[in-house]
């Protein structure tokens, strides 16, 4: 006799399904929460920062002659003069020097307005002199006021005049620092990882090294700043505030990241590739150079890019070695005083003028897009070269 079997879920089974559903719901809730934070953060940054990408410009006639070179703010009419950013007047002698034909002519130009005008136009502040407001409104009705792309944000250095402040010197500083980090930490990190993974015997000593490298990755970054200050600046005499000092300090921080990711990439290469190479008479190094390294290269590069992205976003250790200076002109060498993107953002965030609030947010957006680009490159590299065994 066959026993009656019911295929409908039992109560116990139903309970199990419900538990599963609940667990799934928790996970989705956690994900949504994380996404919500991200959305709030980004929309706030974009809301505050987008306005810094455009600037109020006013169409005026500029007169170039002997007088206006000396008294530059007289190059435009007295009425408009206080609306125009001081940064423009300073450039008049240079403009004439570069182009003598300008002398004794009058040109119609779109000029950057002062931060006060800009803030007023964007609706952030109402503290504009009533007379200037009236002038501005009249110019506006004549179609002589509009927004232009703020190219200065990207192509000029820091400035005490907010309408003239830009990220250029921070870009250059970050670039130099990145080069130093790459040149120092990539070869040292990869070589260390190859030795530890492929050659080192497994004993107490190498285990201690391994543990310490892992610990190094967890050391608060400000301590690396102290170390850099003590070793590179005080002991080796690397110039303070320079990209070289910053790069060396950040290399200390990036090294463990590169070592750990390179070791993981080497470990992922199947053992039988090494054995196959050695079985046909390749030496250990030949097996690594010809087979293991090419296979693990995407992983190594991914780790390196992520390490460098981390270094680019790092501020704390740089504060200690003086890379927080006011740098209006981009450095031309590794040993000159420099600043980097996050340090520039930090500087701006402490400025009293309202216009710097938007600049800070804009700087954050630029830094974030740079980091996203770097990390996306890492992901693409990994996906493109990923091999299945």
């Amino acid at each position: 006799m066959s026993q009656g079997i019911t295929l409908a879920p039992s109560r116990r089974l139903k309970k199990r399904y419900r538990a599963e559903q609940r667990f799934k719901a928790y996970c989705i809730a956690a994900l949504l929460l994380a996404l919500a934070f991200l959305v709030v953060f980004f929309s706030d940054m974009i809301r505050q920062g987008y306005s810094a990408f455009v600037q109020t410009e006013i169409k005026v006639d500029v007169t170039y002659d002997e007088d206006t070179i000396k008294f530059t703010n007289e190059s435009v009419t007295e009425e408009v003069s206080p609306l125009i950013s001081r940064a423009f007047y300073r450039t008049i002698p240079r403009q004439v020097e570069a182009n003598p034909d300008l002398m004794n002519t009058t040109q119609t130009r779109w000029l950057t307005a002062t931060a006060h005008v800009d803030q007023y136009r964007k609706g952030y502040s109402d503290r504009l002199d009533p007379e200037l407001k009236a002038t501005l409104d009249r110019l506006d009705s004549e179609g002589r006021v509009s927004y232009g792309f703020n190219s200065g944000l990207f192509f000029s250095g820091d400035s005490k005049i907010p309408s003239n402040a830009g990220l250029w010197s921070a870009f250059v500083g970050s670039f130099y620092v990145m080069i130093v980090v790459l040149v120092v930490s990539f070869p040292i990190g990869v070589a260390t990882a190859i030795y530890l993974e492929e050659f080192a015997p497994d004993n107490r000593f190498t285990q201690a090294i391994e543990i310490n490298i892992n610990n190094l990755a967890a050391v608060p970054s400000i301590l690396f700043g102290l170390l850099g200050l003590a070793i590179f600046i005080n002991f080796f005499g690397v110039p303070r505030s320079s990209a070289l000092a910053g790069g060396l300090t950040l290399s200390l921080m990036t090294l463990p990241v590169i070592i750990i990711s390179t070791r993981a990439a080497l470990k992922a290469v199947p053992q039988n590739i090494r054995q196959g190479a050695q079985a046909v008479g390749a030496s250990r190094w030949q097996a690594i150079r010809d087979h293991v390294l090419p296979l693990s290269l995407p992983g190594i590069l991914t780790g390196t890019i992520i390490g460098i992205a981390q270094a680019i976003g790092e501020t704390a250790p740089l504060l200690l070695i003086g890379m927080i200076a006011y740098i209006p002109d981009a450095p031309t060498s590794m040993t000159e005083a420099a600043t980097v993107l996050p340090a520039q953002i930090y500087t701006w965030s402490g400025m009293p003028e309202g216009a710097y609030v938007s600049l800070t947010a804009a700087g954050i957006l630029v830094l974030l897009s740079l980091l996203i680009t770097l990390n996306a490159t890492a992901v693409i590299l990994r996906n493109r070269f990923e091999r299945r065994w």
Partner: protein, 277 residues
């Protein structure tokens, strides 16, 4: 226990009980005596002695963990790569002990090739898979010579007709059986005299297995082959001699026919009739 040596040299005491004297007119390619291997504290081989007959296929069979793979990997010193391994005893090849201090493992491995359980072509093109070893060993320098060698090796491995139009394709694009034959072609490209095979067909389907077995049969004319296998029928099909390993010892070693039809040891009989293993 006093037993006869495979070479017929009755004065030597070895731990190999044989049921039948193999043809003595054949040369011995390798002589292994008292090979002991430890992995850390664990002893994997307890003084194994056996001789490998030249231009024959010798199969090593036995249950998992019996030491047959360990034994095989001692013959080209692949075990050196494992940390914590200790090896005692002698493996004589070309009248030299391969564990003597003056022996260079890289040189040794160019004379004793190896094919692994899982096909492991290099992640390079088919051509480069074959050309790699002769190039780094400096055996072939001219491009045309290399092309000839690649063609010759692939022909020997019975793969030429299938891949001659796509030598620049990655080796990993081939099927499992083709990959394994590529690995065999790679191994014979450096003209070794001994080929060690560690369960070369265990990852292959029956059709590919048959092809590789046929290849092994052809290769024994020029090479001495030692093959580890879990498949008793395979041992019976391809091997002239078979050794049965158990718990790190050789239980029985004789020509394949005798071992399978008249096993001398009870353990061997139990194993080949499927009572354990």
């Amino acid at each position: 226990m006093r037993t006869r040596d495979l070479t017929g040299d009755n004065t030597q005491v070895v731990k190999v009980p044989t049921t039948e004297r193999p043809r003595v007119n054949q040369n011995m390619k390798m002589k292994i005596s008292d090979l002991e291997v430890w992995y850390g504290e664990k002893q994997a081989l307890h003084g194994v002695s056996m001789d490998v007959v030249e231009n024959e296929v010798t199969a090593l069979i036995g249950p998992s963990g019996c030491g047959k793979s360990t034994f095989l990997r001692c013959l080209n010193r692949m075990n050196d790569l494992i940390p914590d391994v200790r090896i005692k005893g002698e493996v004589e090849f070309e009248n030299q002990n391969i564990y003597a201090p003056e022996v260079d493992v890289v040189e040794l491995r160019s004379h004793i090739g190896m094919v692994f359980q899982k096909p492991n072509p290099f992640p390079k093109s088919i051509y480069d898979n074959i050309a790699y070893a002769p190039k780094i060993l400096g055996q072939v320098r001219k491009r045309t010579d290399m092309e000839d060698l690649v063609e010759h090796s692939l022909k020997r491995a019975g793969l030429w007709e299938e891949v001659k139009d796509r030598l620049q394709m990655p080796g990993l694009s081939l099927s499992g059986g083709q990959q394994q034959r590529l690995c065999i072609a790679r191994a014979i490209a450096v003209s070794p005299s001994v080929l060690l095979m560690d369960e070369p067909c265990s990852a292959l389907d029956p059709v590919a297995t048959a092809t590789v077995e046929q290849l092994i049969d052809e290769l024994k004319e020029n090479y001495t082959i030692v093959i580890v296998t879990h498949n008793l029928q395979q041992a019976a099909r391809v091997a002239g001699y078979t050794a049965f390993f158990h718990l790190g010892n050789i239980v029985e070693y004789s020509d394949t026919d005798s071992l399978f039809t008249h096993p001398r040891e009870k353990k061997t009989e139990d194993y080949i009739t499927g009572r354990y293993g």
